[in-house]
């Protein structure tokens, strides 16, 4: 972490939360984030987030699964240990389809989970945010906004958060 500090502001509703974020972003504030018990419609746009790479990860992994299913079945049943069932054609056969489908889905699904873990940098059992007792409400029933500010600006930005409608403002403690 840089020398900056993180300020948390609790907002009573989505409109004031988004309003505050838009204002802060317009003023060129540091990195902003929301914390909420459920996903907020439109948060991506307010925060200016880029498209998630998850669909690409899932697609690539699914494709890998399908291709490896073809290669696996072809090599195992037609090259390494040929099995002739009812003299049906060896390559490419409709009997490959179920395994192609299952392996594609399996790899896509597992990669989505792994992809999420990598993007979130999870598991992350400790975060300085856990030090703020009031912030526990972020997963229960409250909407929080976080902003990174230089140490000198803490006072000024706290006032700004309050002026923009925050009902509670907390400073995340510095942890070595």
């Amino acid at each position: 972490m840089s020398a900056g500090r993180t300020l948390l502001g609790k907002y009573p509703d989505v409109d004031s939360l988004f309003g505050a974020a838009r204002k802060l972003r317009g003023d060129g504030a540091g990195r902003l984030n929301f914390y909420s018990p459920f996903p907020l419609e439109g948060a991506e746009e307010v925060l200016g987030l880029r498209k998630s790479p998850i669909p690409f990860i899932a697609g690539a992994a699914g494709f890998t699964g399908v291709v490896s299913a073809v290669l696996m079945q072809w090599w195992m049943n037609d090259v390494a240990y040929p099995i002739n069932v009812g003299n049906r054609m060896a390559v490419p056969t409709p009997t490959w389809v179920p395994i192609m489908f299952e392996l594609g889905v399996l790899l896509a699904g597992v990669s989505i989970f792994m992809g999420l873990m990598a993007l979130f940098r999870f598991p992350q059992p400790y975060s300085p945010l856990s030090e703020v007792e009031a912030f526990r409400s972020a997963t229960v029933d409250a909407l929080w906004l976080s902003v990174n500010v230089p140490a000198a600006d803490v006072e000024r930005t706290s006032d700004e958060l309050r002026r923009l409608g925050a009902v509670d403002v907390q400073l995340v403690p510095e942890v070595a």
């Binding site: 914390y35 999420l116 993007l119 400790y126 972020a138 229960v140």
Partner: protein, 467 residues
Amino acid sequence: MTPPAASAVHRDPLAETPLILGHPSDLQVNDALLKPILDPNRGWKVLAGLAAAGTGLLVLGITVTLARGIGMWGNNQPVGWGYGIINFVWWIGIGHAGTLISAILLLFQQKWRTSINRFAEAMTIFAVMQAGLFPLIHTGRPWLAIYWLFPYPNTMGIWPNFKSPLIWDVFAVSTYFTISLLFWFIGLIPDLAALRDSATSRVQRMAYGVFALGWRGSARHWHHYKIAYLILAALSTPLVLSVHSIVSFDFAVSQLPGWHTTIFPPYFVAGAVLSGFAMVLTLMIPTRKAFRFENLVTERHLENMAKVMLVTSMIVSYGYLLENFMAWYGGSAYEAHLFFKTRLTGPYAPIYFMMIAFNVLVPQTFWWKRARTSLTWLFIASILVNVGMWAERFVIIVVSLHRDFLPSSWGMFFPTWVDWSIYIGTISFFSLLFLLFLRFVPSVAISEVKELNHEMRHGQAGTGGHA
């Protein structure tokens, strides 16, 4: 149940009942849904003790089977697939409702799924666990069966036969289990975090904190999470259709009358959904009462499930009808004999008529709103349907096998005490897992209910899921 606050006001009789009654705040939703975990009641221990004792039967049955061999079961020639496969198909089928509710209803934007999806997904995972046990023990010596089930380089240089539906089954069931587990766990992460942050004891905070993986509801995380959840739903939808289709291939690709039919895949999938919804009702009706979830799992939810059962029961009935039509129209003497002699007048005829009564006739009562909204009848009907679906698998497997082409090789099947103890053991083990789930994990998707609650308060249309 407590009357909703809105019922005092005159409502449009054609308007649907709201999915959440009584306008609770997010904190009230949170506390109501976490209460069974943070402040449990005593009845749980009694039930869990019973289920654990029943699980002992499972351990006993498996031990006897492994020690003395598969001859301890009732199956023999000509009925080589007895309880092992009946129960496998039955349990796998039950699992299907979970994926249907969580994935297919999410894609169709059916908001009523929100209060019941977590519950149904847990049921899926536990049911698939029971199902997987049966074929595994049925191999007799599972540790010697691995080389023809899983492709791994073994010293014999042999690879599995990928043209066999039994191998497809291994891949389908293991993929289904893995994806269901991931879908369930990803859905659970925000709720585990809510649990971590609502818990007061240090042990609970630590334990749930470990499983919450560090979730704090960050918008940057929700952003990836929403799309991940949606894609997993899109993957699970064809997956759930594929699993029971592939299970039905185990039968349909053989030449045996009663198995050799092309209607099997859709008819198996519909039957699976029917039994799965029945099982959700069986479990949900007592749970919502014990946990006082009536405002979140409303009568409308139960009524909708009854409607799904009515539809799938009619698809199953169509399957029965078409099987019989094909037996007549196809002109095969063996098939005609099975459908019009053996099933109707053979030694297992009562089981056949039980199947018709419970799967075809019982759900027909759901045309009436009174039947769909009576908790007692829903509960009884849901159990009858599951008995009926078990009878269906008995009819397909045992009745088809016990009298095949040559009368000289006809024979009977009688289950042994080992068959029964394994079957009852899996029901107990399933109940035990379910009770543990109810006790330690949020059984309703809290973050989704909060989202729905938020949408309802602001009158906006949304998806009702995280997508």
